[in-house]
Symmetry: C2
Subunit: 84 residues, 2 copies
């Protein structure tokens, strides 16, 4: 595995796992006032399309990374509806 692949995997890993601290913060604080509904609604829609795209082009890393991101981002969206 060359350095470019490592950078790509690291990039994908970070932009996926990044949503976990927000999930944990909102879960603990039960407050989502400052979080934009528009952002997480648009983002979840986009990530869902990435999953479909990944399936269509048979790109497993795209599918897997975006399924994980979708789980995190849709949890934040759920918290936004629940805690306002």
């Amino acid at each position: 595995m060359n350095l470019i692949t490592v950078i790509g995997l690291l990039a994908g890993g970070l932009t996926t796992i990044a949503f976990l601290p927000q999930v944990l913060k909102t879960w603990k604080s039960k407050s989502a006032k400052d979080i934009s509904l528009g952002m997480f609604f648009t983002f979840c829609t986009g990530v869902f399309l990435w999953i479909i795209y990944g399936f269509c082009v048979n790109d497993l890393p795209v599918v897997v990374a975006n399924i994980m991101t979708f789980i995190f981002a849709s949890t934040i969206l759920y918290f936004k509806f629940k805690y306002g």
Copy 2:
């Protein structure tokens, strides 16, 4: 341009533009208490690596989309430091 390409472009467009509503919301409310510093710090780092990766593999759409995302996400990170 086939349907799969359209889905991919739409996915990339949505996951990029998604951050704009959060920028506008935080800019107007001047409140970022519920936003996770860990999320936006990790996300910006990941997006920065995506830009480097895009340059390395000569993938212009990856570079352009991630530069736009980086501008939005780092603005939110700046607001988080500024408004707490």
